[in-house]
């Protein structure tokens, strides 16, 4: 009888549908759903994501990529307090800044969080207050340093800020920014 109960509980857990999302996207971490908007229904299976918007139909479901869930996970992490980071980049050519910006967007950083500031002939990239988890794979050394910074309870109300140098950019983005 005990084993039967365990099997029922185990199977019911597998059967559970897990849906994560916000007002712009819906993803499925377990099970299968149907997302309807604008008169169109889109089936989304486990491991897939669809994007929705005002007066728009849901996009075709695709596999969840790295970075898709960063903002959602950060919001839903019940134990996290403010864990953000400011990142500044060295001055560089505008074309190189644009390339780095598109690389960052592909890796999950929101376009609205990346600022390109022009100083006479050079451009500087500023990442303004982005969730710490989003740079975990992009700038791992800075991520580890920020985690250490936030472990100190005196820093609970502060936000860490780092400036990357040209050597670090060459290593992380495999680009010559000189």
């Amino acid at each position: 009888m005990r084993y039967l109960l365990f099997i029922i509980l185990f199977v019911s857990n597998i059967l559970a549908t897990v849906i994560s999302g916000n007002q712009g996207k819906v993803c499925v971490l377990g099970g299968s759903i149907s997302v309807s908007a604008g008169g169109v229904s889109q089936n989304v299976n486990s491991g897939e994501i669809t994007f929705i918007g005002k007066n728009k139909t849901p996009t075709k479901a695709r596999k969840i990529r790295n970075g898709d869930l960063n903002d959602i996970e950060e919001e839903l992490n019940m134990s996290s307090s403010r864990r953000f980071i400011y990142l500044k980049f060295p001055n560089m050519e505008y074309k190189i800044a644009k390339k780095i910006r598109s690389k960052l967007i592909r890796k999950g950083i929101k376009r609205s969080d990346i600022k390109l500031v022009k100083y006479s002939t050079k451009t500087r990239i500023k990442l303004k207050k982005i969730p710490l988890s989003s740079i975990r794979k992009i700038y791992p050394a800075h991520y580890k340093a920020a985690i250490k910074f936030y472990k100190n309870p005196k820093n609970n109300k502060r936000t860490v800020s780092y400036k990357l140098n040209k050597k670090q950019l060459q290593i992380y983005h495999k680009m010559n920014v000189y």
Partner: protein
């Protein structure tokens, strides 16, 4: 004396019977000014601690610092992030009769994660989630 005790237990069971879930965890702390608000009819109740009982038609709203995790009677788990609003439009759960079970939730703002429980397993067609721009249904 017996009558008083009986009435007390009836009252207890009624008050617990009308609740459909509980705020089981989250970032709710009055010392950190992390509050959530629950709108119940004309009443607006401030949630300062965990263990708050949720009832049908409640609207739960989180703010800049607060996040909540709600567990409903059928083990549906709902997490909402900061600056989010969740409305429980319809909820009916009867463990003995799954045909009439229904759960309609509306996430008007913000971020959510929902893990379905027994209503989602036994009556997936009766489980709906609405967001600002879409409706989500389960495929059984």
């Amino acid at each position: 004396m017996i009558k008083i005790i009986t009435l007390f237990f009836i009252f207890l069971s009624l008050s617990y019977g009308s609740s459909i879930g509980t705020i089981t965890s989250g970032k709710i702390d009055r010392f950190e000014h992390a509050y959530a608000l629950v709108t119940r009819g004309d009443q607006v109740i401030t949630v300062e601690d965990l263990g708050f009982k949720i009832k049908k038609n409640d609207t739960i709203k989180t703010f800049r610092k607060s996040k909540v995790k709600i567990t409903l009677k059928d083990n549906t788990i709902i997490k909402i992030g900061r600056r989010s609003t969740l409305k429980i439009e319809k909820y009916l759960y009867n463990a003995n009769n799954s045909e009439g079970n229904i759960a309609n939730l509306k996430v008007e703002n913000g971020t959510f994660q929902i893990k379905t429980g027994k209503i989602g397993d036994s009556s997936p067609k009766n489980f709906k989630i609405k967001t600002k721009f879409s409706t989500i249904g389960l495929r059984g």
